[in-house]
Amino acid sequence: MTEDSPEAPGTTALYVYAVCRADGGPALDGVSGVARGEPVRTLPLGSLTAIVQTVRAAEFTDEAWQERLTDEPELERYARAHHEVVSVVAAQAPTVPLPLATLYTAEDRAGLVLGNESARFHTALERIAHHAEWGVKVYAADSPGEDGDETARQPCTPGTPEDRGRPAPGAGRAYLERRRNLRARHERQREDSLRVAETVDTQVCRLAKASRRLRPHGPGTADGHRLQVLNATYLVADHRAAELELLVKDLRERTGAGIELSGPWVPYSFVGEV
């Protein structure tokens, strides 16, 4: 059980943001992190350095996170604070970011666990050095809407009172045909967009060192009005970044699809598989 005395074990925890090489410990001035009052600092781990902050354990319980994950402004605050620390460190040296809310019960625990993984950290650091992550999202081309099959549409003449409720002969069949055409067109558009997504992924993969597919964002997100058919992320060497931008521009022109490029990101998505 958690006690209220600040000295009691368990009332504080160590939040770890990232790990980088020990040489050239990063400057962390002006970085506030996820908790107020306690500085973001370095924790030496032999050949590595962890970027850490002491936080109140009560703010990082299961329940606290359950609540936070449904409170968007709060979640955003934490995510951005985490990202800020990671970004500041990564701007100075190759950095392995840890997931949001990686915590240890005490400094020696963090030292022990992270120290045991130092070989993997070094592998990850080598892999991402001089590389950045770039996100590529593809959106289906805008649907032309419900028109385009005007020929099948019955002229809409106001009926006499006797006509009301008695559609002209053939109206039902025309309606069904219209529905069928519409569905077929939507299906075609969907298949076309998926094909474009595959093309984009294949082309970008050619200049990337590694790639990952993230889950496409559904309706309800910022871009909810557009259908996202690819949400992928790529590890790209720094010297090929300009090439990537040209490729995306070219793909946009060739396919007509909405293609968004974001980056450079700290290689969050490419540090786990080592």
Binding site: L75, P99, L103, E245, I259, S262
Partner: protein, 75 residues
């Protein structure tokens, strides 16, 4: 309609905490390949928990629009 790279707050740097869209940020800070496990994070950012909660928050994959791929990412 042109979609340029999502504008970073400070162009060119690996440091755009303000300009980064939240949804893209969460894709990364929550789903980043886990290198190590933390003491508390096991119960907190355990993948199923994150998946469920993010689904509620972002409706990452809506019922009406199934994910185009069966295996489409770590979230």
């Amino acid at each position: 309609m042109t979609h340029d790279a999502v504008p970073w707050d400070r162009p060119g740097a690996l440091s755009g905490p303000i300009g980064v869209p939240l949804v893209d940020l969460l894709d990364r800070v929550l789903a980043t390949g886990v290198v190590v496990s933390g003491d508390l994070v096991i119960a907190i950012a355990d993948v199923p928990l994150v998946r469920v909660s993010l689904h509620a928050l972002l409706s990452s994959v809506g019922e009406r629009v199934p994910a185009p791929w069966a295996d489409s990412g770590p979230l």
